[in-house]
Symmetry: C2
């Protein structure tokens, strides 16, 4: 082949650089039915870092009986010490103060909390109202900040809810403002059931901007349930967002929406960003090889189109 594909075409309306917040090891693996050995997880995270990813959500300090796949968080973190020294950010999800204390004791330097925008999901996932869950996060965030540990706030069901259907933008704005007020450094807008479309994304980002929340505080987190994740991401980039959540190989899905085909695949995102001349620092082929390697461990092919296409080409 005479020239590498994709061809590159810069679009000045898009940011020159995007930071990928890799969620594969946490969001991607958390619903995986068969337990992945901790050594495989550690190798996965090392390979992700070697491919150039600089922010890798490593695990979750939830109750082991609730998410058995991530019950090995305390064993995993010590295996990643060298990465922290290399400057790789390794945030972990903490559901409450107890989880936070466990994480801090292991030297975690960045955490995330998981809030619901809708009452139905707050009830189903956290067994609380939205306000009760935000109140619960108050001491978590303030304790983290006292330890100089920045907190990311996840907002789930920002675009639609399996029980409630439509989710009005003002509900997202309200939870977003509250999380920033608590002290969150960054908010990740989750389309948990994958129903968003580009116009919806543009509308929500405008509403957040109107409420005084700059795009630099936001990340987007799209699911590919209806095949919209990449178009939605492109729209978010046009609105100034420069942090994008993605999952290597398209790992993962939402336990409350079983039809979900998972998160936006990091490789599909990278193909687009490379074509747009947007710098990420990530080596696409090296990452795709990592997803192939993990797929072999999980015993099924990656759902990422790019991983499959590259894997076919090289085999």
């Amino acid at each position: 082949m005479t020239g590498e594909l994709p061809m590159r075409f810069r679009d000045d309306a898009l940011p020159p650089r995007v930071r990928i917040h890799e969620v594969g090891p946490r969001d991607g693996l958390q619903n995986e039915p068969s337990r992945v050995p901790v050594a495989v997880k550690a190798e996965f995270i090392h390979r992700l870092a070697d491919a150039g990813l600089t922010t890798i959500e490593a695990t979750s300090f939830v109750r082991p009986d609730l998410v058995p796949q991530l019950a090995d968080a305390a064993e995993l973190m010590p295996l990643l010490g060298d990465l922290g020294e290399r400057g790789v950010r390794l945030p972990v999800l903490v559901p409450n103060e107890r989880g936070l204390e466990r994480a801090l004791a292991l030297g975690v330097r960045e955490v995330a909390v998981f809030a619901s925008v809708t009452e139905s999901f707050a009830r189903a996932n956290l067994n609380r109202t939205v306000d009760e869950s935000l109140t619960l996060f108050e001491p978590v965030v303030s304790r983290a900040l006292r330890a100089e540990v920045p907190v990311r706030g996840y907002l789930s069901m920002c675009f639609g809810d399996p029980w409630e259907g439509r989710v009005p933008a003002d509900r997202v704005v309200r939870v977003a403002l509250r999380l920033l007020e608590l002290g969150c450094a960054e908010l990740s807008l989750g389309d948990t059931i994958g129903v968003a479309t580009p116009g919806h994304v543009a509308s929500l980002l405008s509403a957040l901007k109107d409420a005084g929340i700059p795009a630099t505080k936001l990340a987007v987190h799209f699911h590919d349930t209806y095949g919209q994740a990449l178009s939605n991401t492109l729209t978010a980039l046009r609105h100034g967002v420069t942090t994008v959540d993605a999952s290597a190989g398209g790992l993962g899905g939402c336990p409350f929406a079983k039809s979900a085909t998972g998160n936006l695949a990091t490789e599909d995102l990278l193909w687009m960003l490379q074509g747009l001349g947007i710098d990420t620092g990530v080596d696409l082929r090296r990452l795709a090889a990592t997803s192939d390697w993990l797929a072999a461990h999980l015993g099924r092919p990656s759902p990422s189109r790019t991983v499959r296409a590259l894997s076919h080409k090289e085999s």
Copy 2:
């Protein structure tokens, strides 16, 4: 659920209406290894029309030994007579004069020719140079126009080529101008191996515009090999294109790029267009049910994310 999803948000930079050129029965089925009975094909096309599709590429009048799946073109067309009367457009692909004469004898009122932009693919697919193949189309197009049958020109490998890699825009412009000069009413820009990204789409459409070709003469035809089809389509809409090729259920793929996961799924496109408040006249749920019905005939699930998500929800 209190409100139907996706929520609708108009974007004034996008066209209010899009015509979908449905290619499932031809481009989608042509590489299907096991023969689909002609009665199933006729029912498929009727169901597509009942779902609201107004342009359905029905089949191809190629040599039966080259595309055995479409060898029944002469049996199929008489089964679709009622659709023509209902105003449904049923174009067919014709490779040469002989194919055109067979199609005209059966009352076909719209045809398409298939040109390659690159020398490698012209050689592989047509065993000719690009110029030789365009010369071959000259009598085909003029004979069709004498019969008052409009001709669509397909341009394949517009964004990349499996042998040559990068494809410069001027090559696409050259073939596009030549096809219009011959008398083609519409050109469909094919990303046969699915390597395009939004910046590349914008750049090619600008080059065509600079050459005096209006977006109203163009259709886009994207493949989802690297998961980019919908983002590319969104970009084309922003550049004034209002005709989009898509394949019900994401049927199909390119025989010269076996890793291709097929055409853009009509349902994934519809989810986005509905969310953007763009009118197509197509009933998404009815179409997805048709794709499910055909998937049962083919013995494997549809690769369309939207078909799978809707099918799961309703089961």
